[in-house]
């Protein structure tokens, strides 16, 4: 009988739903069509279902005896890996960026999402490679991205410093394109995920195995995401770590009829276009300097580490004693830190450390529209620079710590965010 034990562990399905603010840990499986399949890496997830039990504290009158423990509160943790995958949809002229479940989770974790719409260069073209007028600039925003394909078909994405107007409006880039876009050239937009001060949604998962009772509903979750950016041609990944406040066995859920005791359904991933990580670009430039010369850094390694975490807010009137999750940051911990390694060329990075220069670190994976994923730390300080041997190439590793974006026009969350993910 299909789905009867013993079954294999690698055939699994994970679906996700974003619990709106005010619906923390409310079982939504009665509307399963609202859940989206998550393209977890095979062999994932790692799931822990905790049901606390506690000693009732009364003494026994026989040394060989032990108290029957009291059932306590529930909690869960869920870890899995997904590809750091673009959507496969190019936000070209008049096309709005799309989102898959990876982007859905990023929005819930970080709080902010911007889905841009591409346009074309206005009649007359740009006078510089650093920005200019568009047929319609409404689909771009400060803190977002803009991309342009050179004559070889290679698409170059840049962070947007500012945008003014809509029809006939213009954008200014933080770093120039390698050429000057001509009249009618497509300027791609993309989607951007950024930190807000108080993300107030939470995540709900349905985790299913091949065995027909291996079905779990996880409620009231939040977590962190860390990119793993291998540059050797393997697929770069996002490492997700969630924890939550309540869980249900499949037959206890509102959608039990569709979850429990049924054959495992096929997972359908939308807007999911995995890419390999050997090609792309890393831009490191001083804030306020638009030159491309010197900004394209040939890195052999790069890493970003988020410093933002979630704290469960206790409340006896909450779910399992938790009112909701609150975004926080440990004192002394930057919202984003990281490092990159490049071959040794001189004292430039040591000098930047000494002068406390504000720097942009903008790592782009992929070279085609619809096939680009970006990690953006817009304003960082180099805190440690060391000479290193990188596979017998004399190199230097630069460690950095980030803070609010000081180089983007605007005062909104997207413009100020200390870290962003973009998909172009």
């Amino acid at each position: 009988m299909p789905g009867a034990g013993p079954t294999v562990a690698i055939v699994r399905r994970v679906r996700v739903y974003v619990e709106p603010a005010g619906s923390f840990a409310v079982d939504h499986t009665g509307s399963l069509h609202d859940f989206a399949d998550v393209p977890i890496a095979e062999g994932m997830p790692q799931l822990t279902l905790t049901q606390e039990t506690h000693n009732p504290l009364h003494a026994r009158q026989d040394v060989r005896d032990y108290q029957e423990e009291v059932i306590g509160k529930k909690s869960w943790t869920l870890q899995f890996t997904t590809a750091f995958a673009p959507t496969g949809v190019a936000a070209g002229d008049g096309v709005t960026a799309t989102a898959g479940s990876i982007q859905t989770m990023l929005k819930a974790v970080m709080g902010g999402e911007f889905k841009g719409t591409g346009s074309t260069v206005a009649t007359g073209g740009w006078s510089t490679a650093g920005g200019g007028s568009l047929a319609n600039a409404a689909g771009f925003a400060a803190g977002g991205i803009a991309g342009w394909a050179d004559t070889n078909g290679v698409v170059h994405f840049r962070p947007v410093k500012s945008r003014t107007g809509a029809t006939g409006g213009s954008i200014t880039l933080k770093v120039r394109f390698p050429g000057t876009p001509a009249s009618g050239d497509v300027i791609y937009s993309g989607s951007t995920y950024y930190w807000t001060q108080d993300p107030d949604t939470s995540l709900q998962f349905v985790v299913e195995g091949y065995e027909q009772q291996d079905r779990w509903v996880l409620l009231g979750g939040q977590g962190t995401v860390t990119p793993q950016l291998a540059l050797d041609g393997t697929i770069q990944t996002l490492q997700w770590q969630f924890s939550g406040v309540d869980w249900l066995e499949g037959d206890e859920a509102a959608g039990a009829a569709s979850i429990h005791g049924t054959a495992l359904g096929s997972a359908t991933y939308s807007n999911y276009n995995p890419i390999t990580g050997q090609s792309g670009q890393c831009l490191v430039q001083t804030n306020g300097t638009i030159a491309l010369t010197g900004a394209d850094v040939p890195i052999s390694a790069i890493a970003f580490q988020p410093g933002m975490t979630y704290q469960a807010i206790p409340s006896p009137s909450g779910v399992q004693g938790v009112l909701r999750h609150r975004l926080t940051r440990a004192s002394g911990t930057p919202p984003v830190s990281g490092s990159f390694t490049t071959y040794f060329t001189g004292y430039t990075n040591w000098d930047a450390r000494d002068t406390k220069a504000d720097k942009l670190v903008f790592y782009v994976a992929g070279r085609s529209a619809g096939g680009v994923a970006i990690v953006d730390a817009p304003t960082v300080q180099f805190t440690n620079v060391q000479p290193v041997d990188s596979n017998n190439i004399q190199s230097e590793t630069v460690e950095f710590k980030g803070r609010l974006d000081g180089d983007t026009s605007g005062t909104g969350d997207m413009a100020k965010s200390p870290q962003r993910y973009h998909f172009g």
Partner: protein
């Protein structure tokens, strides 16, 4: 699509090698020909290896699961496929006897390696075929893994030999099976 677009992927790879396909770091047409076919005699292989359009062959050698691939019941399957490009240059009697001539041959063989790596590993050269069919190759390029050389063929005095270079690449492919 149910299966990976194997035909388009192989077509694009061969077009990049033989027909200057691609937009950046392309190989001039006529440098290589997919002509290192199986079943040829030693003499025929030696004859082909002295032409200006050097014979090559593309062969898939191994496949395996990509660690980032979702579970098999999903709508996306990611697999890594190793392939090799074999390039065969004939070692003429002059090159067998003259160290300078042999060095010239080796230099050309190593230049073959670089030409193949630059063209096959630069996106978006493998995004589509010449006819415009999307290949589905992940990242629109191959990943270079390394090269080996070997001298093959019957020893002199009566026969030429061949200086073969084997260039290894990995192609990551995304399949979209029915769900």
């Amino acid at each position: 699509m149910a299966y990976f677009t194997w035909s388009a992927a192989l077509t694009a790879i061969r077009e990049v090698i033989e027909s200057a396909h691609g937009s950046l770091r392309t190989i001039p047409a006529g440098r290589f020909t997919d002509d290192l076919v199986e079943g040829l005699s030693e003499d025929e292989l030696n004859r082909r290896g002295v032409r200006t359009d050097i014979p090559i062959r593309v062969r898939f050698t191994a496949s395996r699961k990509n660690p980032a691939s979702p579970p098999i019941n999903g709508s996306t399957i990611i697999r890594d496929h190793d392939l090799e490009v074999v390039v065969s240059r004939t070692i003429t009697p002059e090159q067998q006897a003259d160290a300078d001539a042999y060095a010239t041959l080796q230099a050309l063989a190593m230049e073959d390696r670089e030409a193949l790596e630059q063209a096959l590993c630069t996106p978006p050269n493998l995004a589509t075929t010449v006819a415009g069919t999307a290949t589905g190759i992940c990242g629109d390029a191959l990943i270079y893994r390394g090269s080996d050389t070997r001298v093959t063929g019957t020893a002199p005095p009566s026969k030429a030999q061949r200086f073969e270079t084997i260039h290894r690449f990995t192609m990551t492919a995304v399949s979209r099976p029915a769900t």
